[in-house]
């Protein structure tokens, strides 16, 4: 069979299909399912064009329809496994229409949809912003918090250009009101849904960050005294002051560090017997705890000439 025969068959089938437009889609599809193959058989028998052999497609369609139309016709096609969007729409639309008319007057419009139509440009702007944010998230591979502008590589300029471009594009798209066939339209709807979910997720993240900045891991360690375990106070002569009491400006004693000591060599842990700082004098960073003999002026002399460390705190072990 050559190309012209194929074309002739396709043309004939298309004309028959058109003539059967009144039939339910499923019935028509079922009727026409094998027609191209059948017409190829007919044509292979020889003897002129299909129209010569079978008459015009319209009368062929009429005969086909008459055949399908009696003795019960075709059995009902099996119900699809999936509910089609059209079915969902048909079920929901009456409720939506009713709600539309009921809610409208409450907000001062004939129908709620009249008001929503006015909001469309706002949606276009928001959509442009969300697209820009999504693009920035995809293009930007830095791990930091993206913030509220579509920054790529932390650049504000790029953010503004991207934002302007996406919003302008979105407005154009909305304004022109594209007429799309079925699948591109579904693709657009799906993308919009993803965008809205993305937007909600971004909003939630931003909201959480604003409400509870401390939650953000990085700022967890902002207290520089968080890991202090003990305090060692040295006097002007560099002698460790034992049982020092430390107070703040309100006279409140500072409660800092841990009043348990550990012997590094044995791993033994005990509760301190000291009433003030240091809890664990044996851990003093600038020399051992002064013994009665070490308290003698001669013993203290070597360190007194050195720069005396100011009263200081030290991080623990």
């Amino acid at each position: 069979m050559n190309i012209t025969a194929q074309d002739e068959i396709a043309e004939y089938v298309a004309a028959v299909r058109e003539a059967l437009a009144g039939l339910p889609g499923a019935t028509r599809d079922e009727l026409l399912e094998d027609l191209p193959e059948h017409l190829a058989e007919v044509r292979a028998e020889g003897g002129g064009s299909l129209i010569d052999r079978l008459g015009p497609p319209e009368s062929y369609a009429a005969e086909l329809r008459a055949t399908a139309g009696f003795v019960g016709g075709f059995p009902d096609p099996p119900r699809g496994k999936w509910v089609t969007p059209a079915e969902v729409r048909a079920t929901l639309m009456p409720f939506v229409t009713k709600a539309d008319i009921k809610i409208g007057p409450l907000i001062g419009y004939g129908k709620a949809s009249d008001f929503l139509v006015l909001l469309r440009p706002a949606w276009w702007v928001l959509r442009g912003y969300l697209v820009a944010m999504a693009l920035a998230m995809m293009l930007d591979n830095s791990t930091g918090n993206p913030g509220l502008l579509p920054r790529v590589g932390g650049s504000d300029i790029i953010a503004l250009i991207l934002l302007a471009g996406c919003i302008a594009g979105s407005i154009l798209l909305g304004k022109r009101g594209l007429r799309l066939s079925m699948w591109p339209r579904y693709a657009l709807y799906s993308a919009t849904t993803v965008l809205v979910i993305f937007g909600l997720a971004g909003f939630t993240t931003a909201d959480t960050t604003v409400r509870d900045p401390g939650y953000n891991g990085v700022s967890y360690d902002t207290n520089p005294y968080g890991n202090i375990q003990d305090l060692f106070v040295y006097d002007q002569q560099g002698r460790l002051v034992e049982n020092a009491r430390i107070f703040d400006q309100d006279g409140e004693p500072l409660q800092i560090g841990s009043d348990f000591c550990t012997d590094d060599s044995t791993g033994e842990t005990w509760h301190t017997r000291n009433m003030g700082y240091p809890y664990c004098p044996q851990d003093a960073p600038f020399g051992p705890s002064p013994s009665p003999s070490a308290a003698a002026p001669s013993a203290a002399a070597p360190s007194s000439s050195a720069v005396t460390p100011a009263p200081t705190s030290t991080t623990g072990r």
Binding site: E30, E37, A44, L54, Y60, A66, F70, V71, P75
Partner: protein
Amino acid sequence: MQRVDTTQLLKGVLDLAVLAALRDEDGYGYDILRRLRSAGLDEVGDASVYGTLRRLFAAGFLTSYVVPSDEGPHRKYYGLNAAGRAELERSAKTWNGFASTMDDLLRERGTA
């Protein structure tokens, strides 16, 4: 009153005619049309045979298989299955009953 012509009558018995044409031998669409025409049913159209085959197949009376062909297109053959044979038998009985009733009726009135 609707005038009786073969096309009208054929509508009611097309299923039976196609089942009968397949009784002894499987066939493809155009083949079956040829059998019906050579049996004397000149008014049968291709679309009627094609549509009837589709419908009988959908109703579960026929098997179908494709036979490749070297010179022409592949051909879709139809044949009777058990349900088709039972349907043929049942419809044939109905037809025979109806036909003899009509014969008797016409004979009594002296028109035949």
